[in-house]
């Protein structure tokens, strides 16, 4: 069957605080905003499930600090791991370092040593460090005892999953960033018929955005049903 592939026209959603739906996570967000304003905790460990928005918030913190004129670095460990433990070098002059996906290097002693060193240097230099992980410090597979204890010294914050209403609000916010028309019935339909975690819903929205563009159709429930059948 012939099928038009659409252009990837749209809006690049930006990881900013404005484009994050906090739901019950107002407290962690407030702490990160304070850090971005140059007036928060020195060390935060942010943990939460996949898709709870850790990367988004870390990027938002860096972006916001950067806009204010602070030098800030964002290190997604899952992506940077192939570069080796040297990634932790040369960051001492930054006012803020955000390290995403600590789990990606947990248990690898060379990385742990590197991070431990960075932690100490930043602390000496009065800089701020934010680390994200999938669980609280005591549940992480950190081999280096010193690093493990350091990680619990600072403020440990958890991102809780969004409840139904907040998930609805979050996908509505995301749809708006895509420039996609999402009626309340449609969002409820998605919530009732699809995987309900925000990451899956977000990917689904991106697919729907492209699909409506390809078919030049409105985003309606029959349209989604047809698409879901096609995907299944």
């Amino acid at each position: 069957m012939a099928e038009q592939i659409p252009l990837a026209l749209g809006f690049q959603p930006r990881a900013t605080f404005d484009e994050y739906w906090p739901g019950a996570n107002a407290e962690p967000v407030r702490h990160l905003e304070a850090i971005a304003d140059g007036d928060g905790e020195r060390f935060i460990l942010l943990w939460g499930d996949e898709g709870s928005g850790k990367s988004h918030l870390l990027q938002a913190t860096c972006r916001s600090a950067h806009r204010r004129g602070d030098s800030a670095a964002y290190l997604p460990l899952r992506l940077l791991r192939p570069l080796g433990a040297e990634i932790f070098e040369g960051l001492d002059d930054h006012a803020l370092v955000c390290i995403d996906d600590l789990d990606a290097i947990a248990g690898q002693s060379e990385f742990e040593q590197g991070l431990f060193g960075l932690y100490n240097r930043l602390r000496d230099g009065n800089a701020t460090l934010v680390v994200s992980a999938a669980g609280p410090p005591q549940q992480l597979d950190i081999g280096l005892p010193d690093l493990r204890s350091r990680l619990s010294w600072g403020l440990v914050l958890r991102l809780v999953p969004l409840d139904e209403n907040d998930t609805l609000a979050a996908i509505a916010l995301y749809a708006r960033q895509l420039g996609l028309e999402l009626s309340p019935q449609v969002s409820r339909f998605l919530l009732a018929h699809c995987r309900r975690d925000f990451t899956s819903l977000r990917h689904l929205l991106e697919r729907l955005d492209r699909a409506t563009l390809a078919a030049k159709r409105r985003l309606t429930i029959p349209f989604i049903k047809a698409l879901l059948e096609e995907l299944a």
Binding site: A2, E3, I5, L7, A8, L9, F11, Q12, L213
Partner: protein, 366 residues
């Protein structure tokens, strides 16, 4: 208000005004034309609240003033008077009296102060562009605008100023047209405005002369284009345009140069047997040749082969023939260059000699 003039002087500007007035209005006064006489110059204004057109003409003014009168009735009367008939128009007791020889007409009026004219104040950015450049910028891109997309910005034309570069962009989500021109002395900083479909079509219609300049004035709400005897305004689309640069492939590896007319003719013929709805045509490339193939649900088939400049590894890709034809038909050079990115992100069609006009067509799965 009182003035005299001739049928010919009044008719053409009046007909232009009637062009923007809707046949059915939400507000009765929008069926009227606003007449304003000032110092021997008569200004005619018509609007549908989306666009507005003002034309100016010299008349023999006897008393200044302003009013609004039913536009279609007035234009019909003036049109049907004999050639070169002299006209005398006057407002008496809130009625518009028109006399020509032994013909007399009395039209109802509504006060000029009730007429929802566009803002006449200063706009944020003002720049001058040669009429020919703006016309080209619109002609080369407008056909790619969407018709009734829910993404309102797609139903419009993006007008962008960046330093001395004037750019227009239009897309319906399947293909994108982009025009760029250097306009010396533009120096308007940077600005973006989305002209709604109707505004774009009307403005393009008015850009007839090949000479002269048009003064483009932008505010956050509207665009105003001033030419000699007329001023056109259009409201702008709310919101921002999609980040179109993201969809343009940064590098293209495979370049095909074809004779434009030959390509166009072959495409037109092959498309006859394509699926009527999707208009899918397959492009099969091998060193030196391009084969075009189409097939419809009745299993009827068309195939054409043309010689092209291409020396890479063979590949094939499908497109909507109408989109390719719109793009190829819009080029002016003898040769057309088709460039393909390695990932199947689409085909860029441009003139080898003039990279200022570019079309991006997204492929189809056939």
């Amino acid at each position: 208000m009182k003035f005299s003039t001739s049928r010919e002087t009044l008719l053409a500007p009046l007909q232009q005004i009637v062009g923007v007035i809707e046949r059915r209005q939400t507000l009765p006064i929008l069926g009227n034309v606003l007449l304003r006489l000032n110092d021997g110059r008569l200004e005619l204004t018509g609007t549908d609240l989306e666009v507005q057109l003002v034309t100016r003409l010299e008349v023999e003014g006897r008393a200044e003033g302003s009013t609004t009168v039913p536009a279609r009735k007035l234009v019909d009367i003036v049109r049907l008077l004999p050639d070169r008939a002299p006209l005398v128009a006057e407002i008496r007791q809130e009625r518009f009296h028109l006399q020509s020889g032994r013909s007399r007409f009395t039209l109802s009026t509504m006060p000029a102060s009730n007429y929802p004219e566009f803002d006449t104040g200063a706009q944020d950015r003002v720049f001058a562009v040669p009429v020919a450049v703006l016309r080209r910028a619109m002609d080369k891109t407008m056909f790619a605008m969407a018709q009734q997309d829910v993404r309102y910005y797609l139903n419009g034309l993006l007008l962008e100023i960046e330093g001395t570069t004037l750019r227009t962009v239009a897309s319906d989500g399947h293909r994108l047209a982009l025009f760029e021109a250097e306009v010396p002395g533009l120096a308007a900083g940077s600005a973006q405005a989305i002209l709604p479909r109707k505004g774009a079509l009307e403005l393009a219609r008015l850009l007839k002369d090949d000479e002269g300049m048009v003064s483009v004035e932008l505010s956050s709400n509207s665009l105003r284009a001033r030419m000699d005897d007329l001023t056109f305004s259009s409201k702008l689309v709310e919101g921002r345009y999609a980040e179109y640069r993201r969809v343009l492939p940064s590098t293209t590896e495979r370049h095909v140069v074809a004779d434009r007319n030959e390509l166009k003719a072959a495409l037109t013929r092959v498309a006859i047997l394509s699926n009527e709805k999707y208009r899918g045509v397959g492009l099969f490339l091998e060193a030196g040749t391009l084969r075009l193939k189409a097939q419809n649900p009745d299993r009827e088939e068309a195939e054409e082969e043309i010689a092209v400049e291409f020396d890479g590894e063979g590949f094939n890709v499908g497109f909507n023939a109408s989109y390719l034809l719109d793009a190829v038909g819009s080029l002016e050079s003898d040769k057309a260059t088709l460039s393909f990115a390695e990932s199947n992100s689409g085909c860029i069609i441009e003139e080898a000699s003039d990279p200022r006009v570019r079309y991006l067509v997204s492929p189809m799965r056939l």
